[in-house]
């Protein structure tokens, strides 16, 4: 009987804290547990008893990187509960805000968190010393997203201008002009980014994923749509966001504060860029579609390492679509639609940079939140990340421990997990029994 422990001091470049424990018996993996701490559960309790107008602001603070996603899913869930809907120019403004967040989040992940894995650097900072121009390009891209979020949301993190029903005030065309100017340059940077990351060396790995992503008849879904689920070969199954609880169930697993999600009873589905691309690539903007084709992506990508290319393509799409909306922008007549509280439940989902983010609220007779349910993308992906790691480690258990640890970090980073806004330590323990 041998016992081997591999410990990673700190898993850098991933949000949150985590520990990975691998139980190996006779050279085979008997168990693998990714332990994560996740704050949304705490927020669900905190939301109870709050006014129906409060969840967008409160849940936006769950994540410093994707607050708009939380705001949009929360707003739409509450509006659904109250029988309201935001359409037309106000919906376009929401899309614009969301594209800004995608650009910010993806640029950060591609340049400072993920690219160093492919170029042999320990960190984005180390990469910056050798590739200053590249990192500056990434920061320039990110800044374009920041400016868009600031112009519409009021500030670059935790936008304060979002409310149930729309916005507190809508920006004028003139106020949006500088953001549009920067986006034009950003789109060129984004196209250069796709070409750059497409040239990386990728491990020859494919997984037979079951994908879950929103689908919208006229858009590469980001803000709303029906939920699509499929393997990227057959036409995906589809269900309404309101039917989410009938299809997606969660179970407590003892090793994590996050719940494991099951889709129609099956564990291990994938949400995020690969899923969106597999189910919706035909709806990318023409420029983004061309960039994807030139990068050799095909219509479905099952190699998790190549998710960096999909993210880069999504930045192109976000810049392109944001520019289209800005070019046609006319100030909405009113900043929001009235949303009167009424008792009942409502569901909302949108595509956070990391994947589908679902919210459900039930309001009581007084218009207060009686129940809140938040299903973040990382919780949905947790079982799938564990499966990726199992496949990765199974034939390599005899490798030196530091090599194993590095491989695991990279495989986890493929999915840009937003584990929490807590400490960021991953301890990897391989227990050989």
């Amino acid at each position: 009987m041998t016992h081997k422990t591999v410990r990673i001091g700190a898993l850098t470049r991933v949000e949150g804290e985590g520990a990975l424990v691998v139980h190996a018996r006779d050279g085979r993996i008997a168990g693998l547990e990714l332990r994560i701490y996740e704050p949304p559960r705490f927020f669900e309790a905190m939301l109870r008893g709050r006014d129906h107008t409060e969840p967008p602001d409160i849940t936006a603070r769950i994540c410093g990187i994707c607050p708009v996603a939380y705001q949009m899913s929360a707003c739409q869930a509450i509006e659904a509960a109250c029988g309201a809907e935001v359409t037309g120019p106000l919906r376009d403004l929401r899309l614009l805000l969301y594209y800004g967040e995608w650009i910010e989040s993806h640029a950060l992940h591609v340049y400072l968190l993920h690219a160093p894995d492919f170029l042999g650097y320990d960190s984005g900072v180390a990469m910056a010393a050798d590739h200053r121009d590249l990192v500056e390009r990434g920061l320039e891209l990110k800044k374009a997203g920041n400016e868009l979020v600031t112009a519409i949301g009021g500030r670059p993190i935790h936008p304060v201008n979002v409310r149930v029903g729309g916005f507190y005030r809508v920006p004028s065309r003139r106020e949006l002009a500088p953001a549009a100017e920067r986006l034009r340059r950003a789109r060129d940077h984004a196209l250069a980014t796709v070409a750059w990351v497409a040239g990386f060396d990728f491990p020859d790995v494919e997984h037979d994923y079951r994908f879950l992503a929103l689908r919208h008849p006229g858009e590469y879904a980001i803000l709303s749509g029906a939920v699509g689920a499929g393997d990227g070969r057959a036409e995906p199954a589809s269900f309404a966001v309101a039917d989410w609880p009938d299809h997606v169930t969660e179970e407590q697993v003892p090793h994590s504060t996050a719940l494991h999600a099951r889709l129609d009873g099956e564990t291990g589905y994938l949400t995020g860029p690969l899923a969106r691309y597999a189910l919706n690539s035909a709806r990318l903007s023409p420029v983004a579609r061309e960039a994807a084709a030139a990068a050799g992506l095909g219509s479905v990508c099952r190699n998790p390492y190549r998710a960096i290319i999909v993210r880069a393509v999504e930045i192109v799409h976000a810049c392109d679509e944001a520019l289209r909306l800005l070019d046609g922008y006319a100030e909405p007549e009113r900043p929001c639609v009235p949303v009167e509280a009424r008792p009942g439940a409502g569901h909302g989902a949108s595509e956070a940079p990391r994947g589908t983010l679902y919210h459900r609220y039930r309001l009581d007779d007084g218009g207060l939140v009686a129940e809140a349910d938040i299903v973040p993308p990382t919780a949905q992906n947790q079982a799938r990340i564990e499966a990726d790691l199992r496949d990765l480690l199974a034939p390599r258990l005899t490798l030196p421990e530091d090599e194993l640890a590095a491989l695991c970090e990279k495989a986890i980073r493929n999915h840009d997990p937003c584990i929490s806004c807590s400490a960021h330590f991953l301890d990897l323990r391989v227990d050989h029994g």
Binding site: G64, S123, G124, H158
Partner: protein, 155 residues
């Protein structure tokens, strides 16, 4: 381009971790136009962006060093031993300093003010000694930044 930038770092919903943000909020609108006030969750790219070209950057953040809660550390020794070091996206202010250095985008002078936190529990309010330290820090910075012409005389 602002000559001086004050950056408040932290998270609003983790108790005393909001100290830096709260100092920034108390300063906003009360300082000369040459001073920019920024709130940040610690994203290094945003930090580098915020202080690029500034003669002086003052970063205020909650810290956890074992000192009594409410203790104000100034300056905090590098690398920054701040709570937000473990913050969003696995990157923090220390990374921002290194990133700024690699890109040649550090401010002329960087001063880090640390406010010792006592309770970082999600959902907890800021504790009274930390609130008092926030008030004290904001008052001190306001006096300094309105008295001095930050970054030297302006023409």
């Amino acid at each position: 381009m602002a000559e001086t930038v004050v950056v408040g770092l932290g998270s609003d919903l983790r108790g005393d971790d909001a100290a830096g943000l709260e100092v920034a909020r108390r300063l906003r609108g009360t300082l000369p136009p040459s001073v920019a006030v920024v709130e940040s969750c610690g994203d290094p790219a945003a930090l580098v962006e915020a202080w690029s070209g500034a003669a002086l950057a003052i970063v205020v953040d909650a810290v956890s060093s074992g000192a009594p809660p409410g203790t104000v550390h100034m300056p905090v020794p590098m690398p920054l031993r701040s709570r937000s070091l473990a913050g969003s996206h696995g990157l923090g202010p220390a990374d921002a300093v290194e990133l700024g250095r690699a890109l040649g985008r550090l401010p002329g002078e960087l001063v880090v003010v640390g406010i010792e936190g006592g309770d970082f529990t999600p959902g907890a309010p800021m504790t009274p000694p930390v609130l008092a330290a926030v008030r004290r820090t904001a008052r001190g910075l306001r006096e300094r930044l309105t008295r001095e012409r930050p970054g030297g005389p302006r023409t």
